[in-house]
Symmetry: C2
Subunit: 308 residues, 2 copies
């Protein structure tokens, strides 16, 4: 039995996976704030599998943790997980003595990419494009995660696709994240609300010009990211996930229209059949926690998962 | 002994490589036009190694051919090599019976990427960015060429980085190739000359506004391609080659200034140290022919070279 956790900004998703890859238990709990509370969340989450989901915790052989921030490949240390109040934390070292099994830590988008790939059938190549507060992708090919040389593989959010576009928090103009990141959209929308991007879509449908511009920028940014992933890494498919994809078909319709417009203008783009290669991760998908479980169980994650 | 040929639009570069990887003979000849003349060029080129470069042609064990156009992975057939007057040609089948050794064919940019990687020390990861009539890249990591799923890996030339940019021959606006491709620049410059891009640089230095705009677009396009390759594939280095790089330090100074401007604006971009990761392939480098020789000698090129 392997366990995977997806430690998110507000909630942590925990799954237990059997030897055949099936999810046999799942719990969710609130994520604590700061290094000690995040450590406690992981320990509580694993224990809750036993108390709340009937999982035999004595049968757990490994734990994998997906967490936002920079994680050293094959390591257990996370830095700059700003949404969790964590500047630096050796999470594996903190929880291993308590849990009594090997623990591996992975960047949450990379873990989700690995999980989405497994759920997607585990063959060919795929990019997982995470549309959350920020935007980043994980690329998986033939079962291997593309890690890159210096930790920026899949950081498509900070590619500028419009020099006249909005200022990004990174300092550049027209970054994909400035156009399509949930955080940037909420900031530019500037009105209170639990789900600002949904409010933007609603207001755009009622004709609000500011909302229409934000909504069209979101589709442009996502379509640009899809084109970049296909024209650089040439993945078979691009799977969209993350908080902003809660918009579901409304988002997909906009992205499809944007891709159709470039296919209309360009025979070359048309030949790529991008609209057929983009998919949405189903709402509530356990991809991120499942991917973390797979990372945690890899005997030597450097060998088994790293490439690039 | 392995032989590699880089079949270019005007000239074909031929090298003989010994078991230790050293180039022991090199000849150049004019490339013929059309399927039969291209086939003859390859045969003549290999024979010229013996007659003109003192190579023992009886010791040749394999031949690899880099050629513009689409090449099936591990195959010998090239399609759409428009600059050579070739619509479709099974080049391996045409030359193998005459040369009497196994022949493999590879896309010229991918072959050059493989050769540049070998010349670069053969470790880590590298993108070879070819700045010729068009723009495309080849990505090599840990000795493996990233092939992708459907033949568009490294096709960064058709990523739009400016919706208000010039119309690309592909139908989109602001493609990297429309800004920085030698063909697009020559077309927009529109004045006769043997080396239009050099003329553009000269005229820009004399203050010609149209030339200054073209020159700044070239630097913007190349810098965008570098950023995209690092933020998607996260390669250690980006090596620039191809006809436009004959401009040498003049081109590099412009690209470095463009990268410095984005590093100035963005701490994140600054952290990537892009200006230290971009290099120029030396003028006259045998990278493309050497890479073709390595591809030709791979026992099973699918296994040894393909990935992605």
């Amino acid at each position: 039995m392997k366990v995977g956790l997806d430690v998110g900004g507000t909630k942590t998703d925990v799954v237990a996976v059997d030897a055949g890859g099936a999810i046999v238990g799942r719990v969710r709990l609130a994520t604590g704030w700061g290094p000690e509370a995040v450590t406690a969340t992981v320990i509580d989450g694993v224990r809750a599998l036993g108390t709340d989901a009937g999982v035999d915790v004595a049968a757990i052989r490994s734990v994998g943790i997906g967490i936002p921030g920079q994680v050293e490949p094959g390591g257990g240390r996370v830095v700059h997980a700003v949404n969790l109040g964590v500047d630096e934390l050796d999470l594996a070292a903190a929880v291993e003595p308590v849990l009594g099994v090997p623990v591996r830590v992975e960047n949450d988008v990379k873990a989700a990419a690995f999980g989405a790939y497994a759920l997607h059938g585990g063959s060919g190549s795929m990019a997982y494009l995470n549309l959350g507060t920020g935007i980043a992708a994980g690329i998986v090919s033939h079962g291997e995660l593309w890690r890159g040389a210096r930790g920026t593989a899949g950081e498509v959010g900070h590619i500028s696709v419009d020099p006249a576009g909005p200022l990004c928090r990174c300092g550049q103009h027209g970054c994909i994240e400035a156009l399509a990141g949930g955080g940037a959209i909420a900031e530019r929308w500037g009105r209170p609300g639990a789900l600002p991007v949904r409010d933007v879509f609603d207001a755009a449908e009622q004709g609000d010009p500011a909302a229409r511009e934000l909504r069209s920028g979101l589709a442009r940014g996502v379509a640009s990211a899809v084109r970049i992933l296909v024209l650089t890494a040439d993945v078979d498919s691009v799977v969209l996930g993350g908080g902003v994809t809660a918009l579901g078909d409304r988002l997909m319709a906009d992205v499809a229209a944007e891709l159709a417009a470039s296919a209309e203008a360009s025979p070359f783009m048309r030949s790529l059949r991008l609209e057929e290669r983009v998919e949405l991760l189903p709402a509530g998908s356990p991809a991120a926690a499942l991917g973390a479980a797979l990372v945690g169980a890899a005997r030597d994650s450097e060998e088994a998962l790293a490439h690039g």
